[in-house]
């Protein structure tokens, strides 16, 4: 019994382990808002938002092998879409998520088309260019009536519906949790499906994949779109949680953070996105605690150590531990 359980946890195909993981996460996550301070609830919500964004990046880079340093741009588009819809058109916050997602899907798909010709480092640079250009585009004076220019847009946090006795922070936590669960579930399914296999085939050996009948251009562009969708939804959520969007919120530094979260969490691992998000959100705070003047250096050193100790990220380490455990108990 124990062996079967462990085997399922480590097996890539059997879903029981996944369900167990889900259940565990839910068990811990559900009662949290009532046990901890509001501020921590806020941070946890932000962590989930980043996890969704990193998951988006993972779909593109981890599963499809397309190196992107530009996801802060999609995050920004999602955030601004939500902000403009809520501020100027009075759209309810829950509708902004799918709209932001679709807008970003289109943006990602369109960007993915010319990017088809680019490989590795060159794609990284093209996406890098996109990320760096985004703040400037957001500040453009012709667009100011919508984007608020450099002043940004302030958003009002929604209250809990149906008169539930939850404060806005708690409600947003559950809302984000629900969205995250749905998106993670979809991601798992996508990756395990035929499309997912096609994605991974392109990552591992594009020529062979092509020879096997995978439509490279369509698959790669679609993946770009889906990846942007995820990050865009995350951006919309993020904007609502922080209650403010401004060009300075979406600099290249955000892309770097997402990328670091991807590597730390584990490239090609969906669950890893959550670990990566935790790292990106909490480690800079820890570093600042250790040394105000050298916070950046402490952060860098911690990152270096992490990469040495866990070259495949948290998720890789977890898998390793479980496998060892499973093989040890099999004897």
């Amino acid at each position: 019994m124990k062996q079967a359980l462990l085997a399922s946890l480590t097996s890539a195909r059997a879903p029981y382990g996944r369900w167990l993981g889900f259940a565990l996460v839910l068990l811990i996550a559900l009662p949290l808002p009532f046990l901890v301070k509001n501020f921590f609830v806020f941070q946890l919500t932000l962590a989930m938002v980043y996890a969704i964004a990193i998951l988006g990046l993972n779909l593109l880079t981890g599963f499809n092998g397309q190196f992107s340093l530009g996801h802060s741009a999609f995050y920004a588009i999602g955030a601004y879409t939500a902000a403009i819809l809520m501020d100027q058109y009075g759209v309810a916050y829950y509708w902004t998520l799918p709209i932001a997602g679709v807008v970003c899907f289109v943006a990602g798909f369109l960007f993915g088309l010319p990017a088809l010709r680019l490989e590795g480092v060159y794609l990284a640079l093209a996406t890098f260019a996109l990320a760096v250009a985004m703040p400037q585009i957001l500040k453009l004076s012709p667009l100011e009536p919508w984007t608020g220019g450099v002043q940004g847009i302030v958003i009002i946090k929604p209250n809990a519906p149906f008169g539930l006795r939850l404060n806005p922070d708690q409600w947003l936590y559950y809302f984000t949790l629900a969205v995250a669960l749905v998106l993670f579930f979809c991601a798992y399914n996508l990756v395990a499906s035929r499309t997912g296999r096609a994605m991974k085939a392109i990552r591992d050996n594009p020529i062979a994949a092509n020879a096997m009948g995978v439509n490279l251009s369509l698959c790669k562009s679609l993946t770009f779109g889906v990846s942007a969708f995820y990050t865009g939804v995350a951006g919309a959520l993020g904007g609502i949680v922080v209650q403010f969007v401004a060009p300075d919120s979406f600099t290249f530094g955000l892309s770097v953070a997402l990328f670091v979260g991807l590597v730390v969490g584990g490239v090609g691992s969906i669950a890893g996105a959550l670990f990566g998000a935790w790292f990106v959100l909490f480690v800079p705070n820890i570093a600042e605690h250790v040394s105000k003047g050298l916070a950046g250096a402490v952060y860098g050193i911690m990152l270096i150590l992490l990469i040495y100790l866990m070259p495949s990220g948290f998720a890789g380490l977890l898998r390793l531990v479980l496998v060892r455990f499973a093989s040890a108990s099999r004897r």
Partner: protein
């Protein structure tokens, strides 16, 4: 017409900065097949070391060469100590490591030398050439040094044994090992040289933009742009690419009406993306053909 000429010359001058940085980037790319995001910070740190030496009374040229030597050693050490443990890890881990290096070096520099801007002397003087205000002696000197380094690198890679060995080690480490090349040493050598070139770039750039820990961040960006436009496999292309980026950015900012000024950076970047889509390996780069 006069404005056009001015902007072109100014673009060449600024482009010289980008070209210098682009050269260091191409250098590291030739050696390790990756782009090093920490290149700019290493250059900045080297420049601070030079500045400190000068503050302590060391004459300019002595400080210059001491800094070069120290930078070379530093780059070499970074490769041997920090990069070696993960040499077999996937490329993404390497990139993450570069990012970590960036954070560490930037933070250290700010901690040691604070964030107030500092002047850095130039060996070329600041009097203008070709009449007032078109180009200063320093700008011309910077381009001259960049071209000199370029020639040196070209000769080094083309006609020396070590250069050949480095290229082999980067292109195909397995085969290189088989013919007796010490691949590890070649990598470290590449890092050292890139660090030294970066140091020269930093020391040439600082007199223009003033020395401070955040000096290189945006220049690195433009340096990448220049290197990519010119072709990452071609040092000469990188230099031309850097100058091109500078000129086009200036012209776009000046002559495109209404949004040109606000979109200078975006236009330069859009250009990069355009060049890449039309010619994926850059203007002068060699297209790489993989064996299936």
């Amino acid at each position: 017409m006069e404005l056009f000429l001015h902007q072109v010359l100014a673009g060449i001058a600024t482009g010289g900065i980008y070209a210098c940085m682009a050269l260091a980037i191409v250098m590291i790319y030739q050696a390790i097949d990756h782009l090093n995001f920490a290149q700019g910070e290493m250059a900045m740190f080297s420049t601070f070391i030079a500045w400190q030496l000068i503050q302590w009374g060391v004459p300019y040229w002595a400080a210059f060469f001491v800094t070069l030597a120290l930078s070379f050693a530093g780059g070499y050490l970074i490769e041997r100590v920090i990069m070696k443990p993960i040499q077999n890890a996937p490329i993404l881990s390497h990139v993450a490591l570069f990012i970590a290096l960036f954070a560490v070096i930037n933070s250290l520099a700010g901690f040691i030398w604070e964030y107030q801007i500092k002047t850095f002397p130039t060996p070329f003087g600041t009097h203008p050439l070709f009449g007032v205000g078109l180009m200063s002696a320093h700008d011309a000197g910077m381009i001259g040094v960049t071209v000199a380094m370029l020639v040196f690198l070209y000769l080094f890679f083309r006609y020396t044994r070590i250069g050949l060995a480095m290229r082999a080690a980067a292109a195909n480490p397995e085969s290189a090992r088989l013919v007796g090349i010490r691949v590890g040493w070649m990598l470290a050598l590449g890092w050292g040289m890139a660090a030294a070139i970066g140091a020269v770039a930093g020391m040439l750039i600082a007199p223009v933009v003033f020395l401070e820990p955040n000096m290189m961040a945006s220049i690195l960006l433009y340096g990448f742009a220049g290197a990519v436009v010119g072709g990452l496999t071609s040092p000469g292309g990188a230099v031309i690419g850097g100058v091109l980026v500078g000129v086009i950015e200036n012209l776009a900012g000046t002559f495109i009406p209404y949004v040109g000024r606000e979109l200078k950076l975006s236009i330069a970047l859009a250009l990069i993306v355009f060049v890449l889509t039309v010619k994926p390996s850059g203007l002068f780069g060699r297209s790489v053909v993989h064996r299936v």
